[in-house]
Structure formats: structure tokens, C-alpha cells
Amino acid sequence: MSDPYLLGCAWHLVPPERPAGGPAGQRLGRRAGASLEFHEYRDYQPGDDLRHVDWRALARTGQMHTRLYREEIAATAEIVLDASISMRWTERKEAGLRALAAFFVGAAAGENAVRAVAAADPPHPLPSEALRACAPAALALEAARALPDLPLGPLLRSGALRVVISDFLFPHPPPATARLALGAGRALFVQLLDEAEAEPALRGALRLRDVEGGAEREMMIDSAAAERYRARLARLSEALAAELQRHGGTLVRALAGRDATGAGLAAWARRELVPAGWLEER
């Protein structure tokens, strides 16, 4: 099974603890709430709803216990896709983006209201059905502005389960990038990189040209320079991850050729997302 959407359907996204918005009652939350499904007992605490005091147990034991019910969650999953030019730097990377999008639509389907947003210029919503088929026409990767510079706010829902897929290769400070997690119930940032971005094999005299800004710089690249690049990339990712953590978000990295295609996608999900509590098998 290599269809990323179907792969995603084998999992479900773990929702935020406090859903906000979306149709009520579609999923049970992890916290106790006001649904009819019993969750557990605990000792009565002042302020507890007296309707939930277990009067029978009080009669039997003389102790006041409060019945807790699982909270009903009406969750929204937002999948934000970086539609900048850099996301089609290689065909592999572009295919990886579409595969991840389909995967997360599949994982969010059924129990969440799925909303897809293209972080294009200007940003706009995307039909999630189109993302299921990984159709290139559904998402044009043409934006020349970096993700933090786009007016995404009006398209994002507060409390939603937010998955942002981007390479996060822009020179903005990590706090600016991490602000994309603001208002989300949970925020998962997937850093999709081509293998050549993560482990560049460039050597010699090169005129490096930024695919988005068009800026150029003539440089001599040797193995030491490549190593310095890798170190900088690692520092950037670490700083972004730390910043996201402060906002309750998570950063995971996926390599387009290894992690975002076929069986690699399932392996990546098990390796990166399940341990982090983002996916559970249905």
C-alpha cells in the first residue's frame, strides 16, 4: 500500500486536549468532560457538579465520590502547506509535500473536520479532497514570500489541530516562525527537506542563486563549507523546535526521498509521530 492517503487512514491524529470549534461530539477527548461515557471516579472536590456525585457510593461507603465522564471533543484539523517556490526545488521534494499532505488528510479524516490551507501568496483554503489524490493542480507552488510573512491568520482556527508542512528554510528568527503555532490546539511542524538540502553534495566554485529571492553569491564550496552548512541547518532546526515547544508545538523532520514516499512514510510515522503522541493506530 503506497497511497499516502490510505496510509494516513490507518492512523488517527491525536486531538488537542481542549478542542475549540468544529461540530460537537464527534470524538472523545482525553480529558474528563460532560459526555455520557464514564471515565473514572475521584474524590469530591468543592465546586464539582453535584449532579455527578455518586450518591449510591456515598450511601454505601459514606465517602463522596464524583463520577467523571469523558469530555466530548469537536476537533478541527488544519493542514497548512507551504506553497513557496522552494517546495518544488526538486521533483522529489514536491512529491514529498503532496504525499505528506495526503497522509495527514487521511490521518485526520473521519474524526476531525479537515481544513487545508495553502500558504501561497495570497494564502487560500484548499479542498482537502484534492489533497487526497496528491493532485499537482490542487496546489501551485509559486509563492516567493516566506511563510512567516504571509497573512495566514484569518484562515487559521483557534484550538485546531494544526499541521504545518514546510522546509522552514527562511532566514527569519525561530520565534517569528513559531508564531504559526499560536492559537492552535496542538501544532505539528513537519520540516520537509530534500536529501540534497539536508546533506548537500555541492563542491567547487558555484554561483548560488536563491530560488525565491533570486539573490546570488559566488562561493567556493568544499567539504568544510558543507559541514558548516549542515551545522547551521541543525542549529536552525533545533532553535525552531525549542521555540515551538514553548508554544506546545512539535517539530519533526522528513526527508523527501526517504520518509515521504511509499513504505518510508509509514516507517517515518512510526518513528517520528507515534512516539511524540501525534498518531495513534485506529
Binding site: A205, L206, R207, L208, D210, V211, R217, M219, Y229
Partner: protein
């Protein structure tokens, strides 16, 4: 030298090591699109950090650029392996005026002639191996020294033999002559003073190679018979300098010093010298101490020619007495009065004399008379009327006197003096009744007689003069046709059965000898007596005009140059294509 029309263009070969050096340090920056340029900015070594020497790659681009540099150098240097397709032609006009021979006294000083030869040699060298050279010597009549389109060797030989000595003259005829000979080639004028802006020809390269020098020289010199026993040497010397000059003057004759004196020559003030010598004295040489211009420091004055005019008066008295003809021998130079019936060169009477004598025929005045106070119409440019005005003259004519011939003086439509040629002799009819006229009392009468005497004398055998100023023609009339030969420094001319010679453009020289079959007939000298040439203070140097453009366009027309240019462009195009292709890759 001969392979290249413009050897300076070979400096472009310096581009070869430059190209190779650039390839040593060249970095070929491949285009590489990246997504996170900012991550590289501190990672990579910036190209601006300074070049590093790298191994030279055997790259087609290197070979193409080396070939382009080589071709560019050959193109700029006008490389012609087989010589120019059309031989380059330069016409060098040499100012032949005497001042071009000026030289600072002492070794190593400025020598105008030597500088002119150097410049001419340089122009000749520029024409290359197959170049052609035409040398034109300026003068009143420009002369071809070499060519037209002579080989360089011939031109060099002619240059070596060139010694400028002509009097002041216009350079225009020489330039016009050069233009006719150049046929699109280069024209260079070598002179010793920059031309005034208005006189600079645009199509001629004018190179002035003179230098302002002080000089003293003779501005005039003549030997005049003053009596039957004596001649007088009359000379004028001038100094040309900002300050006064002092020069020693020596008179010599037959190797003996006649007199020595010191002249003080103030600027612009002529100093006149006179010396009487016995008539039998041979040629006298006047010599000033040597200075920048040697040609004007010497004047040679051979004995003047003796050509007395025999005059016979056949007029009835009192006309002859009224006209003062009895004193003609006193007032007219070198005139002898012939007795009645004696042979004469000129006869004044009432009827024409037999040829070849000239006749001045007057009426007897017996018939009707008619008097006029003017206005008289005189042909003043006629040599016999030069200086004659007829102002205030009362003229009485005989109404029955026939006046055939060309009227030279008239009143109204009545001729008063007419010239005719009868039986090969000149007959002048002067319708003047002396007793009723005042012409003989006016200054016009002796002037007319003097003019007439000299006109008669000019028809007599012998030289007109034996001490000529440069530029003046040597004129000689032989008693009868004979084979004649003229010899002098650099001159050897001969004539067959000639009875009249007029030779001009003779360079200053102490002695020329005209010989007939029997031997030497006349010895004469030509002296530089030209203040314009002696004045060296106005000389200078400089260059003007431009023929480089025309010369350059001639080179551009060369098929080989065009082929070089085409190859160069093709190589540059190929190089550009290669580099572009690499950029795209």
C-alpha cells in the same frame, strides 16, 4: 619592421600572458539554485576573498582566448606576411629652401637637413618592404627627386644627394604636384617652420623640423662698372638675431685678400659695403664668418659682361640736338655712338635702318602738325614704357606720318608710338616733332631711352649677367647657333645648335661655366641673396595635418586584415558560445 605596418600594435601580445594568468586564477562559477542561501553565506568561501592560483586547465576556452589575443595583436600591428596587397605609397615633399640647410655651428648642434632626412627615412620605413616612395623637391618649379613611386633604396639615395639651396618660394605648387602623384597615398611635407593655421592643408602631414637660430648673411651683392677703368663692389649685409651681431668680412680675388673688415650688424638694419676695384680684377669673393647658414655667407662677383650698344643718330638737325642724343653716351650705360654709316645696333632716324638694327623712326615735321596735352594712353606694362608717365608733356605730331604696327602710346585714336617688326628687325615709330614738343624735357625721355637701350642690349650676344641672385635666370644669347654645355656643382646640361639660353633654378654656387665648341664662353656665379631665407629666427618645429586616418583606412582595406578580423570575430564568437553553454550546464 617590414612585416608589420603598425609595429606598435604588437604590444597587444601582452594580452597573451594576461589571458594565461587569468586562467591560472580563474574560477568557473557554475550556477546552482539553492533554497536556503542564507545558510551558505557564512559557510562557503566568498569568491571575493581573493583569487588563489589553480592548476592551468587545458581548456578550449584558454586556447580560443590565446588565439584571439594573438590575432588581435596581428590585426593591430597590420601584419602582412606577403607584404601589402597594394604597395603603400608615401609622397615626401622636401622644402628645398636654403634655410633647410641651416645647422648650428659646432658638432652635435641642430642640423635641419639631417633632421629632414631622418623624418623622410622614417616615413619611408613605414611603407614597409614593398612600399613606394616619391620625393618631391619644392621650388618655383617643383622637381621630382625620386619616383614617382620609387623603391625605398632609390629614395634613400636621392635623399642623401639632396642639398636644399633654393630661394624663398611658395610650397603650394610642390603640394599640388604631390597630390597628383600621391593618388590616395600619404603626403608628408618636411619644412623648417610651422605653417600658419590658415595655410595648413588638411590632407597633408606637415612636419616642421627647424629651429630658431641667429644668422648673418648677404642680402645683396653686385659688381657695377663705374668707369672705363673701375668696377665697384656693392653689397648689403644683415644680421638676424635678437641682439646685434659682429662678423668679419673678407674680399678676395684670385686667391688674394683684397680687404678685411668687421661688420657690426644691428637687428633689422642693413649694412652697405662698397669697394672699388680695377676693372681687370677677376671674380671677387665676399665672405662673412661662418654661422648657421653657410649659403648666405658668401657672394661671388665675376666681372660683369661687356655688351656695349652701338647707337647711330641719323636725324636731321636740330631734332637730334633738341632730343639731347649727342650726350646719349654719357647718360646711357655701355652705349657707344657710331659715326654716320657705321654699323649700329640701334639707329634713330627718319627711316627704318636695315635689319638687324633696331630703328626709332621720327617724322621730319615738315607738314601739318597737331599738338596734344593729353590724356595719353600708354601701355605701361610694355618694357620700353616701364617708368614712363607722360605727365605734363606737350606732344606735337605730324599728321601725315604713317604709323603702321602696334600702338603703344596713343592720344584718342591717334597712335603716337607704334611698334612693328619689319624684315626681322624691330621698328619703333615715334610721331613726335621734337621742336614743338616737351617730351625731351621730361624725365620720361631718358627713361624711355634707357629702356630702349637695354631692350637692344638684350638682343646682343653674351650673357645678361654674370653675378646672379638665386632664383634669377641665367640668360645667354649666342652670336650664332652652337652646341653649348653648362657645368656647375651638381649641374651638367647641354644644348644642340642653341642661340638663346634661359636657365633658372640654379643653386647658389661660386662658379658655373658655359662652354661652346671652342671652350669656356661665360663664367658666372649664383649667390643666395634672400633675406627671407637668411632670417632663421622664424624657424621652428611642430606637426600638423593628418593623413593617419586615410593611411589607416588603406590598411583596413587590406584583404588580409579583413581575414584577420573575420577570424578574430569567429574565435570570439566561439568562445562566447562555449562560455554560455557552460553557464547553461
Amino acid at each position: 619592421m617590414s612585416w608589420f605596418g603598425a609595429p606598435l600594435g604588437l604590444f597587444a601580445l601582452l594580452a597573451l600572458p594576461a589571458v594565461i594568468a587569468l586562467h591560472f586564477f580563474r574560477r568557473r562559477h557554475r550556477d546552482q539554485p539553492v533554497t536556503g542561501l542564507f545558510l551558505w553565506l557564512d559557510a562557503g568561501l566568498d569568491a571575493a576573498a581573493g583569487p588563489r592560483r589553480q592548476p592551468l586547465r587545458r581548456d578550449p576556452v584558454l586556447w580560443l582566448e590565446c588565439a584571439a589575443a594573438l590575432l588581435a595583436a596581428l590585426f593591430l600591428a597590420d601584419f602582412r606576411p606577403l607584404g601589402p596587397a597594394t604597395a603603400q605609397h608615401v609622397v615626401v615633399v622636401l622644402d628645398d629652401s636654403a634655410s633647410m640647410s641651416a645647422a648650428e655651428p659646432g658638432a652635435g648642434g641642430h642640423d635641419t637637413r639631417a633632421r629632414a632626412i631622418e623624418e623622410a627615412e622614417a616615413r619611408i620605413a613605414e611603407t614597409g618592404r614593398r612600399g613606394r616612395v616619391t620625393l618631391v623637391r619644392s621650388g618655383r618649379r617643383p622637381l621630382l627627386l625620386a619616383g614617382p613611386a620609387a623603391l625605398a633604396a632609390e629614395a634613400r639615395a636621392a635623399l642623401a644627394a639632396w642639398h636644399p639651396a633654393a630661394p624663398d618660394h611658395d610650397l603650394g605648387p610642390a603640394l599640388a604636384f604631390a597630390r597628383e602623384l600621391a593618388v590616395g597615398g600619404r603626403i608628408t611635407l618636411l619644412t623648417d617652420a610651422p605653417l600658419p593655421a590658415a595655410a595648413r592643408p588638411a590632407d597633408v602631414e606637415v612636419v616642421a623640423i627647424g629651429r630658431a637660430l641667429e644668422n648673418a648673411g648677404f642680402a645683396g651683392a653686385e659688381r657695377v662698372p663705374v668707369s672705363a677703368e673701375e668696377d665697384e663692389i656693392r653689397a648689403t649685409a644683415r644680421g638676424y638675431a635678437a641682439a646685434g651681431l659682429t662678423r668679419a668680412l673678407t674680399f678676395r680675388a684670385a686667391g688674394q685678400e683684397l680687404r678685411t673688415q668687421t661688420l657690426s650688424l644691428a637687428p633689422g638694419v642693413p649694412v652697405r659695403i662698397a669697394l672699388r676695384i680695377p676693372r681687370a680684377t677677376p671674380a671677387v669673393t665676399l665672405e662673412l664668418a661662418a654661422d648657421a647658414l653657410r649659403a648666405d655667407d658668401r657672394a661671388d662677383l665675376p666681372p660683369p659682361p661687356r655688351r656695349p650698344v652701338r647707337l647711330r643718330v641719323d636725324l636731321e638737325e636740330p631734332a637730334g640736338a633738341i632730343l639731347g642724343l649727342g650726350r646719349a653716351a654719357e647718360i646711357l650705360p655701355e652705349v657707344q655712338i657710331a659715326g654716320p654709316g657705321a654699323p649700329a645696333d640701334w639707329v634713330i632716324g627718319h627711316a627704318p635702318a636695315p635689319a638687324p638694327a633696331w630703328s626709332l623712326v621720327l617724322p621730319r615735321g615738315a607738314g601739318a602738325l597737331e599738338s596734344f596735352l593729353g590724356p595719353f594712353v600708354a601701355e605701361r606694362r610694355w618694357r620700353l614704357l616701364e617708368g614712363v608717365t607722360l605727365d605734363g608733356v606737350l606732344w606735337t605730331r605730324a599728321t601725315d606720318f604713317a604709323m603702321p604696327g602696334l600702338a603703344r602710346v596713343a592720344v584718342g585714336d591717334l597712335p603716337l608710338l607704334a611698334e612693328a617688326v619689319e624684315s626681322g628687325a624691330t621698328v619703333l615709330r615715334l610721331n613726335l616733332v621734337a621742336a614743338r614738343s616737351t617730351l625731351h624735357q621730361s624725365p620720361d625721355w631718358p627713361i624711355f631711352l634707357l629702356n630702349l637701350t637695354e631692350a637692344v642690349r638684350s638682343g646682343l650676344p653674351g650673357p645678361r649677367a654674370t653675378a646672379l641672385a638665386a632664383g634669377e635666370a641665367f640668360v645667354y644669347r649666342a652670336p650664332e647657333p652652337a652646341d653649348l654645355r653648362l657645368a656647375g656643382p651638381g649641374v651638367e646640361r647641354a644644348w644642340t645648335a642653341a642661340d638663346y639660353l634661359e636657365v633658372d633654378d640654379l643653386a647658389p654656387a661660386p662658379e658655373y661655366v658655359l662652354s661652346g665648341p671652342e671652350g669656356a664662353r661665360v663664367r658666372f656665379a649664383v649667390n643666395l641673396l634672400d633675406a627671407a631665407e637668411s632670417d632663421l629666427t622664424t624657424r621652428g618645429s611642430g606637426e600638423s595635418g593628418a593623413t593617419a586616418a586615410a593611411f589607416g583606412s588603406a590598411r583596413a582595406d587590406s584583404p588580409f586584415r579583413l581575414a584577420l578580423l573575420a577570424a578574430l570575430l569567429a574565435i570570439l564568437g566561439a568562445n562566447w558560445w562555449l562560455l554560455n553553454r557552460r553557464g547553461a550546464a
